[in-house]
């Protein structure tokens, strides 16, 4: 079962974890064979939103779709047996500390 771990940082967050912490976390996921994919996202000021209206007209705006206090900073997709295992990995993620949060969402599976 695949889960996306969405790593959110509070806007005013004091970050205490280091690059080494993130590298160690990624290595641990790789070694355990659970990491499907993962990326960190560039700074929020670089975000651009695209919407296409019913007339096919494209609207491009600067910034994310919804302004929130919590900023999506990156994600990992992991493949583990169940939610408990996914929550374990979320708790190990450096992004879950110092006021940050990791939102765990199952990837939808469709039977065709």
């Amino acid at each position: 079962m695949k889960y996306m771990l969405m790593i959110y940082a509070a806007a005013d967050q004091q970050v205490n974890c280091t690059v080494e912490d993130w590298m160690a976390y990624e290595k641990e996921m790789r070694d355990a064979g659970v990491l499907v994919s993962g990326h960190s996202l560039a700074d929020l000021v670089t975000a651009t939103t695209v919407q296409v209206g019913p007339d096919g007209k494209r609207t491009v705006t600067d910034g994310p779709f919804a302004e929130t206090r919590e900023v999506l900073g990156g994600y990992d997709v992991i493949d583990v047996p169940d939610l408990d295992a996914a929550l374990e990995w979320a708790a190990k993620c450096p992004g879950s500390r110092d006021g940050g949060a990791v939102v765990v969402r199952p990837i939808a599976e469709f039977d065709f």
Partner: protein
């Protein structure tokens, strides 16, 4: 045992076994209903079998095969079923597996909304129907239906597992299970439904049977027994209760459990149980062991501090050291937002003011308490006290 009792005893256990087997709550519920329906047809004619649980499980398995053959959506699970049927069951006392502990942990999983955990426990482990669960929590049936459907959807789609947490996870996970069971008890207590409180005790007994060495499970069962023992007298406040109405057998059982819950360590449920044991063993309110009760509240304050614990501690201090000492502590708590609208706080204050001869202040404190009380019986009790004061 009559057929109703058999179903009540066996339903949760059968459901847990089927959930474990198929990993699917909906399917397990359907099979449980099928098996019970079959029993309702056969047992009145053939008699209740010697091992009703085994009969129900065998029937449910047969129904599973029928259902999975018919139903292409579930066809993939047939393979799983075959493997499971071929595999020998783990040896247990009466030859039947008991997977209710897994189900307890699923119902109280931290990923589910806290207010739904007690409801799910009633539904799946106590065998309540959705309308019965709705009535227990005083919400409309459609609301409860939506909550249960949403919770089941999360359990299945987010794949919340049916498993007993590892020993190192237990300290984090067990309190949730205990809280779910205790919430059923407190709901029953607030609504004056002895049947619901009794159901919570039955669930705690099952849990205690499954985790006999967990002191807080023992403590929770003891606490509920020691409070429930006073059920027939509780239309009065503790100090006015007719103590001959208390259930002595239940007190004895609870007291014996408290001793076990407090051997070699203690947790909040065990300490609360001990406080209630002291009340239950006291000849009357005056001659209760107040120094010991205050000491236990001190322990509880360290383990699980809360404004309500502080309030109860202040009331015990008032009995040990006099009303003035208790009132001083209550006045320190006056700023607590959690106590502002909590009528027992006003009532306790009114009581102490009256004991100090400050009756004018006591009258207005009683009036505030009556205003804030949630149920008619609570208001009635407070009105009686106010009337006695004005006489």
């Amino acid at each position: 045992m009559n057929v109703e009792q058999v179903f009540r005893e066996e339903r949760g256990r059968l459901l847990a076994t089927l959930v474990k087997r198929f990993g699917d709550l909906d399917l397990a519920e359907e099979l449980t209903s099928d098996a019970i329906e079959a029993a309702l047809r056969h047992w009145p004619v053939d008699g209740v079998p010697d091992r009703p649980g085994a009969w129900l499980l065998t029937t449910a398995r047969r129904k599973a095969v029928d259902r999975l053959r018919r139903d292409r959506v579930h066809a993939a699970r047939l393979a799983v079923l075959q493997v499971e049927v071929d595999r020998a069951d783990p040896p247990v006392a009466d030859g039947l597996p008991d997977e209710r502990l897994e189900l307890f942990f699923t119902c109280a999983h931290p990923a589910l909304p806290e207010e739904d955990r007690g409801a799910l426990t009633l539904r799946f482990l106590a065998g309540f129907t959705t309308p019965e669960v709705a009535r227990a929590y005083l919400v409309p049936v459609t609301t409860m239906q939506q909550r249960i459907v949403r919770a089941k959807k999360k359990i299945s789609q987010a794949r919340i597992p049916f498993r007993v947490p590892d020993p190192h996870e237990l300290p984090e996970r067990l309190p949730g299970v205990l809280q779910a069971v205790y919430s059923i008890f407190t709901e029953g207590y607030a609504a004056q439904r002895a049947d619901l409180a009794g159901e919570a005790i039955r669930l705690a007994r099952i849990l205690h049977g499954l985790l006999p060495a967990e002191r807080e499970v023992t403590g929770l069962l003891a606490l509920m027994l020691l409070v429930h023992a006073r059920r027939d007298a509780r239309h009065d406040l503790l100090e006015d209760q007719d103590r001959t109405l208390w259930d002595r057998d239940m007190v004895d059982e609870g007291t014996a459990l408290v001793e076990r819950a407090l051997t070699g360590g203690y947790g909040p449920y065990g300490v609360q149980a001990a406080i209630n044991a002291l009340h239950d063993e006291a000849p009357d309110f005056e001659n209760t062991d107040w120094p010991q009760i205050v000491a236990l509240y001190d322990v509880l304050t360290k383990l699980a501090p809360s404004p309500v614990v502080a309030l109860n501690r202040a009331a015990a201090v008032a009995m040990r050291d006099g009303a003035a000492a208790g009132l001083a502590l209550l006045d320190e708590l006056a700023g607590e937002p959690k106590l502002r609208d909590y009528h027992p706080f006003r009532a306790a204050r009114a009581d102490l003011l009256h004991r100090l001869g400050r009756d004018d202040e006591a009258v207005s404190a009683y009036r505030e308490a009556i205003e804030l009380a949630g149920t008619e019986s609570e208001r009635e009790l407070l009105r009686l006290r106010l009337a006695a004061l004005l006489r």
